[in-house]
């Protein structure tokens, strides 16, 4: 294992099989601190599976994942979240039961900082309320950072789809992550929303948060990615900068050509 100080995430020889189907086969790459890395490839290439393995939702059959040199593969998602990885989902998964509001959703991201327990909740109201006020201020700040100011009292279902995606992002930012895993964050957004989204992701990177992003929208990928990994049928097909990927004949055949997205390459 070669861990370089500049790496935040090392994915080493990950293999994951679903009932005989090889979803991932010896996938292997690293993500440098502070960069935006994009994971692209045709449908069924294993991109989401790789995010799920990284976030702890799935356990790899083989191989390991290290974050800052610490092995995280095999840990439960809540432990990995505590180490500073947060994620969004391909299909938006917000908390909606009991009329949970937009603000409630973002506040839930503060779980890591608050670590509520039942005895403290009933018997130590004073310190709890003080902490709660602090995280509330921060939540409002994050909501306006992603562009949802004034919507904190809405129900998540009342937001447009694009805004629900922003809310997921706000909730993840609330966890104070070192790294974000974003699963097709721009899918379902219109052109204007995509432009705003690109700016937002760059702003997040400027805050020092590393991003690993699965995305089909090549406009997003080519505009923001520092580095790209291409998966095809569970295997790593290529890795490199956007211009290298655009020039790669294999990638064009397997993915870019068929999607007609090669024109996004500049």
């Amino acid at each position: 294992m070669m861990v370089q100080n500049s790496d935040i995430l090392n994915i080493e020889n990950i293999t994951k099989t679903f009932e005989g189907v090889r979803a991932l086969e010896n996938v292997d790459f690293r993500v440098k601190k502070g960069q935006i890395k994009a994971l692209i490839g045709p449908n069924g290439a294993g991109k989401t599976t790789l995010l799920n393995v990284t976030s702890g939702l799935l356990k790899p059959d083989n191989g390991s994942i290290y974050m800052n040199g610490q092995k995280i593969s095999g840990m439960t998602p809540d432990k990995i979240a505590f180490l500073g990885i947060s994620r969004t989902f391909q299909l938006v998964r917000l908390f909606t039961i009991n009329n949970a509001t937009v603000l409630d959703n973002v506040l839930l991201g503060a779980h890591k900082q608050l670590k509520p327990d039942i005895i403290g909740t009933i018997f130590r109201r004073g310190s709890l309320n003080k902490k709660e006020r602090e995280v509330k201020d921060k939540a409002l700040e994050i909501l306006s950072f992603v562009g949802l100011e004034g919507k904190e009292k809405f129900l998540p279902g009342a937001l447009s789809f694009g805004n629900q995606r922003l809310l997921e992002l706000a909730r993840s930012l609330m966890t104070e992550p070192q790294m974000l895993l974003l699963d097709e964050p721009a899918s379902g957004l219109n052109d204007a929303e995509v432009d705003g989204f690109i700016k937002l992701l760059l702003n997040i990177r400027d805050r020092g948060i590393t991003i690993l992003l699965v995305e089909h929208n090549m406009k997003v990928v080519m505009n923001i990615a520092d580095d790209i990994v291409v998966l095809d049928f569970g295997k790593k097909l290529a890795e490199g900068t956007p211009s290298q990927i655009c020039a790669n004949q294999q990638v064009i055949e397997a993915y870019l050509g068929t999607y007609g997205s090669a024109q996004e390459c500049v």
Binding site: D78, I97, N98, L108, D117, I118
Partner: protein, 316 residues
């Protein structure tokens, strides 16, 4: 108007205080409200577990039984002070909830319902089987009235106040729980447990915590029940009782705390109003439940809230 919105519960407290002085100066009338109070504790506890935590339980009466029988056996058979017996019951319930919580709450939906039902049956069978301690099917008698440091609550009005004092503590602590980060955590687990885990929520730990809290409330209710009745029998704690508590939740409006309070009050007071139709009691209960579930999915509390909003709008 806003003040009314914020402090309406003061009227409720006032009503509870004044009630025995005006209309209720008979053991029968305070008795109704004592039962209401006891069932409120059960329903509110289950609402934390189910309405907030999203974990169904069809065996909540098991902890009711543990509280009642721990208090009953310790005070009637061994002469231990009721306060110590009650605390022991709560402790036993908490330990049992802690020990069974992880494996049982790892199950979901129907499987969880079946497991909790089985848990209720096990406790029920144990009560009948351990005849030497529990009196078996014929019940446990001669449970003394509640007392603290030699001060007896034999007077029915005093006991009524004591029960309602505990009820308000249970409601207040439940409200504190649901309006806190802890409550938010429960809602997240209820909405999407997998997603919740990605935000650092150790869901088995939280599910077990709320299970323990609900068990403690139910045990407390059981102790208060046994000292009030002086006689307890296994039938008070069967699966039917658990289902009754569930009905209270849905009738009142699950996941609101106040809803189950209403539901418990409604279901316990209803038979007293319709006693002349006693033969049809089950039928009437059934019809009311169906009507509520079909036409008022948010329960009585939901109806009350809509009504309140309507009146406030009119007043403006």
């Amino acid at each position: 108007m806003n003040a009314l919105k914020r402090y309406w519960w003061l009227f409720l407290i006032l009503f509870v205080i004044v009630y025995p002085l005006t209309f209720g100066d008979s053991p029968y009338k305070t008795g109704i409200l004592v039962f209401v109070g006891i069932y409120i504790m059960l329903a509110v506890g289950l609402d934390l577990l189910m309405g907030y935590g999203g974990q169904i339980s069809v065996g909540h009466a098991a902890f009711f039984a543990i509280g009642a029988y721990t208090s009953g056996i310790m005070t009637a058979r061994y002469g231990i002070p009721p306060m110590i017996a009650m605390t022991s019951g709560m402790f036993i319930s908490a330990v049992l909830a802690w020990a069974t919580g992880r494996p049982v709450l790892a199950l979901k939906e129907y499987y969880l319902a079946m497991a909790t039902l089985a848990f209720n049956e096990i406790i029920f069978t144990l009560i009948i089987g351990l005849e030497k301690f529990t009196g078996g099917a014929s019940g446990l008698r001669d449970i003394p009235p509640f007392s603290v440091f030699g001060f007896s609550f034999e007077n029915h009005i005093l006991y009524y106040y004591f029960v309602w004092f505990v009820v308000f503590l249970v409601i207040a602590s439940s409200i504190a729980v649901v309006k806190s980060p802890f409550g938010r955590t429960l809602i997240a687990i209820h909405s999407d447990e997998q997603a919740a885990r990605h935000f650092g929520i150790n869901s088995p730990k939280y599910k077990t915590s709320v299970f323990i809290l609900a068990a403690i409330y139910a045990s407390l209710a059981g102790s208060l029940y046994s000292h009030y009745m002086g006689f307890i029998a296994p039938d008070d704690f069967g699966v039917m009782t658990s289902i009754n508590i569930l009905v209270m939740l849905f009738l009142g409006g699950i996941g609101t705390i106040y809803g189950p309070v209403l539901g418990a009050a409604f279901l316990k007071i209803l038979p007293e109003i319709t006693y002349q139709f006693q033969d049809y009691e089950l039928l009437i209960n059934g019809i009311i439940l169906i009507v509520v579930l079909v036409f008022m999915p948010k329960g009585l509390y939901g109806v009350l809230i809509s009504l309140g909003k309507f009146i406030f709008r009119r007043a403006r």
